[in-house]
């Protein structure tokens, strides 16, 4: 029984990283309607920056905290630059073009990372304090995962409040539907878009920085995270932060439980979930019907 509980909890912690990354994507995708393939690249770059920062600051707590601040900021700056210099120029064209533009960016970033950090894969140590585990009904559960769960929940709450309750959030939603009209009401729409894109990138960066000490940092992690993030966004309902949370947890937990029940399906798991959700509830679990 505790096995199952631990299994679920580890699913939740994995889901949280996914959620943090996907929440950024759901903002960008849902709010700006940009299918941002480069989101995975943001994640990857943040992981590599984390590697550099922790190496320079030493493996301990200061290095970890510094990377948690610096890596997402670097990526946010990268995101802002991409939005202002590139995406903005094709804003008025068909959304397909944003898709290939961001796809091109993923390629450029992938090799850019190679140029800066080389082809080797890397590892970032966890700070001593978070290295161990706590005990849950006698079974060990890594304390780092507890931290992940807490941060994920905080982000979820903050984002939700921002979108649903604030005027900023509402303006954002209006701007998606009709940017020109919102502009005619006195809102600086380009700035708004840049802001959202930057925030989305920052979230991807935060996810990357948080994930770095748990996994390995390698070329190609952009690829796997982007598909999973899109899946989370769609499963949860495009544009819905709570949906992204639910989607990420569903994927995390079902995967954790799923491999106990049907291990052979693990490789296709996420797509089975996607098919099921899209067929039964096309607008996503918490999405609004168009």
């Amino acid at each position: 029984m505790t096995d199952v509980l631990i299994q679920i909890l580890s699913g939740v912690s994995r889901g949280m990283v996914l959620f943090i990354v996907a929440s950024g994507l759901t903002l960008i995708f849902g709010v700006l309607r940009v299918a941002n393939f480069a989101h995975g690249s943001f994640y990857m770059v943040a992981a590599f920056v984390t590697y550099t920062v922790t190496r320079m600051a030493g493996g301990g707590m200061p290095g970890f905290l510094a990377s948690l601040v610096i890596a997402p900021l670097c990526v946010a700056a990268l995101g802002a630059a991409i939005e202002m210099l590139l995406l903005r120029r094709i804003q008025h064209r068909d959304h397909f073009y944003q898709l290939i533009l961001t796809f091109a960016i993923t390629l450029i970033v992938a090799d850019g990372v190679k140029m800066i950090w080389g082809r080797d894969y890397r590892s970032v140590p966890r700070p001593q304090l978070l290295e161990g585990s706590i005990s849950i009904f006698g079974s060990p559960f890594p304390s780092y995962y507890v931290l992940l769960i807490v941060i994920g929940l905080v982000i979820a709450l903050a984002l939700r409040l921002m979108l649903e309750r604030t005027r900023f959030g509402k303006t954002l939603r209006a701007a998606v539907a009709d940017g020109e009209m919102v502009g005619a009401l006195g809102v600086n729409v380009p700035l708004l878009y840049t802001g959202v894109f930057t925030l989305g990138a920052w979230l991807a960066g935060l996810g990357g920085a948080l994930a770095a000490p748990v996994g390995s940092i390698a070329i190609g992690i952009d690829n796997s995270i982007i598909i999973e993030s899109f899946a989370v966004v769609i499963i949860g309902g495009v544009g819905s932060v709570s949906g992204a949370l639910v989607g990420a947890l569903v994927i995390g937990v079902l995967q954790a439980i799923g491999i106990m029940v049907a291990p052979r399906l693990a490789i296709a798991f996420i797509f089975i979930a996607l098919c099921a959700v899209l067929l039964l509830r096309p607008q996503g679990l918490l999405g609004r019907r168009a």
Binding site: V238, A268, L278
Partner: protein, 329 residues
């Protein structure tokens, strides 16, 4: 747009491709063969995107199924390549019918994601069913001796691809094609004009799937292997990129896109240490500076050059302006 204008470049291209083996070396013919297959793949995709407005992100599934149909028939039943290539569109088409039945219920990005998911499911089956498909290292195919020489297989491909593209040409200009265009523009309106939108979309999906199957079936004898990576999602991204880079709106857009991509991939992976960077940079420039894709932009430029100067100010406007001047307070 007149049909001559669309057909002319096709015929020029066909003539060039037919003459190619006399002009260039074996390796280039091989590359051209690669291009022909890729072009058909992209063209079949553009029946969905360009004509019907359906952004499928799982088109590689049908491409890969075509490739595996040939390989499986060959290695399991000993069926030679040519009948295999005839069977491929049937297998891919039937699969497209089954998947299409579900996916055409959705629109836009949801449609894209569902087609992606189905494709990935097929991919996982193909790549992990070792005993049947050979798993991730692929399934070998040996073309018969008469198809083994590079030129022989090249002409074979050219013939098949020409027929398929001819078919697509007819479909695009058909009444069916016109209905797809209307559905792309405004599906709701199309339904209220009496079109059964889902059925038309499904038909397009099946046709595109079958033709992608043909492209795939030509691929495995060329590589002498069918690989699961032919069904992977990154492979599905290829026709999207090619089509958009070449020009969605133009019939030969995907062909141009395919030529560019095949060549570019080859060049960057031969000559640079950072091929993705070079490739991405080229795509980036294309997107930023050629808003309608290569073909669309060239056409626009051509039209503007040939257009007569637009009629200037309408007569009474000039007069009105003058009157304005006088009456200003």
């Amino acid at each position: 747009m007149g049909w001559r204008r669309e057909a002319a470049p096709l015929l020029v291209l066909l003539a060039t491709m037919a003459a190619l083996p006399f002009l260039v070396g074996e390796s280039d013919v091989y590359l051209a063969n690669d291009f022909l297959i890729t072009a058909l793949f992209a063209m079949s995709f553009n029946l969905l995107l360009g004509q019907a407005g359906m952004l499928s992100f799982g088109h590689a599934a049908f491409y890969g199924l075509g490739a595996y149909t040939v390989a499986l028939l060959y290695s399991k039943l000993g069926v030679p390549i040519v009948p295999g290539i005839l069977a491929a569109p049937l297998v891919a088409g039937v699969m497209a019918l089954a998947i299409g039945f579900f996916v055409v219920r959705l629109e836009g990005m949801y449609f894209a994601m569902l087609s992606l998911s189905f494709a990935q499911l097929i991919f996982s089956v193909v790549s992990s069913w070792y005993s049947f498909t050979g798993g991730d290292n692929g399934l070998p195919v040996s073309p018969p001796d008469w198809l083994l020489p590079t030129n022989a297989y090249y002409y074979f491909t050219l013939a098949v691809v020409s027929v398929c593209i001819g078919l697509l040409f007819l479909v695009r200009r058909s009444t069916f094609g016109a209905a797809l265009a209307a559905i792309r523009e405004n599906p709701q309106r199309a339904a209220y004009l009496g079109l059964n939108v889902r059925v038309y979309q499904l038909a397009a999906f099946v046709l595109a799937g079958a033709l992608a199957g043909v492209a795939g079936s030509l691929r495995s004898p060329l590589q002498q292997m069918a690989f699961p990576s032919l069904l992977y999602w990154t492979q599905s991204a290829d026709p999207v990129l090619m089509t958009l880079a070449g020009g969605v709106g133009a019939f030969i857009g995907p062909i141009v896109g395919a030529a560019l991509f095949v060549l570019l991939t080859f060049v960057v992976t031969s000559h640079t240490d950072y091929p993705l960077f070079a490739f991405g940079a080229v795509v980036l420039v294309l997107v930023l500076f050629l808003p309608k894709g290569i073909v669309g932009t060239v056409e626009g430029w051509w039209d503007r050059r040939r257009a007569k100067p637009a009629p200037a100010t309408p007569p009474q406007a000039a007069h009105a302006a003058a009157q304005q001047e006088g009456s200003r307070p």
